[in-house]
């Protein structure tokens, strides 16, 4: 079976005669376009840097590993990093791969959701408004009144970045540490 089909191929390729070398040349050029810039072979698990250069992910990963302090594109020396490459997914190309060759896994493509107006608000949970507070009252009894409050009615969280937000973060850290020190003291005493 196999031999006959190859014969057919042979005869058809012989058929096109004159322009064959030309197409072969074109094919080779085409191949070169898809070659990894590091191993010079056809790119496997291909990724493209933001500056547009093609690599095998294992090749590029190793390049980044060998110089963790100065990660630059081997071609144009633009800044490059794990997060700044885009994987190329050909049609059905990633299925039958030896998992060993997947190591380390290629960074995933980034998919941005289209904007869809305002999301829901109201639940303290949904929009990242999770609070944990640790209150200390009359020691030692008040210690146990510490509560977790999930979305209880309480003043709105100030927007991230505002001085008030920073202040609250700072305060909550201070109290957390205080609580930890008390616990440590309790245990040691």
């Amino acid at each position: 079976m196999a031999s006959s089909s190859s014969e057919v191929k042979e005869s058809t390729s012989r058929g096109d005669g004159g322009d064959r070398p030309n197409t072969k040349e074109d094919d080779r050029k085409e191949d070169n376009l898809l070659e990894c810039n590091i191993c010079l072979d056809t790119a496997k698990d291909a990724v493209v840097s933001l500056c547009g250069h093609l690599f095998c992910w294992p090749c590029l990963h190793q390049w980044l590993e060998t110089r963790p302090n100065r990660q630059v594109c081997p071609v144009c020396k633009a800044a490059i990093s794990r997060d700044k490459v885009v994987p190329l997914y050909g049609r059905g190309s990633t299925q039958q791969q030896d998992p060993r060759e997947k190591v380390p896994p290629r960074p995933a493509g980034q998919r941005t959701e289209p904007e869809s107006g305002n999301g829901f608000s109201g639940f303290g949970f949904g929009d990242g408004g999770f609070h944990m507070s640790f209150g200390i009252g009359a020691f030692p009894f008040g210690f146990f009144t510490s509560t977790f409050n999930f979305g209880e009615p309480r003043p709105n969280v100030p927007a991230q970045g505002t001085p008030q937000y920073m202040e609250e973060q700072f305060l909550s850290k201070v109290f957390l540490w205080l609580a930890l020190i008390f616990i440590a003291w309790l245990l040691l005493a």
Partner: protein, 175 residues
């Protein structure tokens, strides 16, 4: 890290569920390096450039001998320089060690043949290959960096062409 450095290390059972952390890369074995060196050799042999050439030194593909002709209209014109290439197992992630075998009077080449060239040190890129190294060295011959010389005399006399040429010819010895 050690696993990635030592090409002889072959982890036997890496598929035990902790992939993704620290597993030997498929690229970092002798085979990938050999494959790339073969490709470089092929493209060098196909190229029409007469002024540079390189070929493996005997059986060992990790050691090559290259030749560079001095650039036209330079003091090195008509002189042929031999260079040795030693490829590490981590090639092309690490640069090969390149040395002049032919004695060369040049500000950036010392008496042992060591070359001070940025792309062979900090500015190495995995993209560079034997051909680009040879071309860079050829360019370096006529455009030395006299500010950080390995050969002080060469750096001092660089501007006095006649004297410089005499030094070059006195040191040159075809091998």
């Amino acid at each position: 890290m050690a696993q990635n450095v030592n090409p002889l290390y072959e982890p036997q059972n890496t598929n035990s569920g902790k992939e993704g952390e620290m597993v030997k890369l498929p690229q970092n074995d002798g085979h990938a390096v050999t494959k790339r060196l073969h490709k470089e050799l092929m493209s060098l042999m196909m190229s029409a450039d007469q002024s540079i050439s390189a070929f493996p030194d005997g059986e060992n593909l990790f050691s090559w001998v290259g030749t560079v002709w001095g650039p036209k209209d330079s003091v090195y014109e008509e002189l042929k320089f031999k260079l040795s290439f030693q490829f590490p197992n981590s090639y092309p992630y690490k640069a090969p060690v390149v040395k002049f075998v032919t004695p060369c009077f040049h500000p950036n080449v010392d008496t042992q043949g060591n070359i001070c060239l940025d792309i062979l040190k900090d500015n190495w890129s995995a993209l560079y290959d034997v051909r680009t190294i040879l071309l860079s060295i050829q360019a370096l011959l006529d455009e030395p960096n006299v500010d950080s010389p390995l050969n002080g005399l060469a750096a001092e006399t660089w501007t006095k062409k006649d004297e410089y040429r005499q030094h070059v010819m006195a040191m040159y010895k075809e091998v």
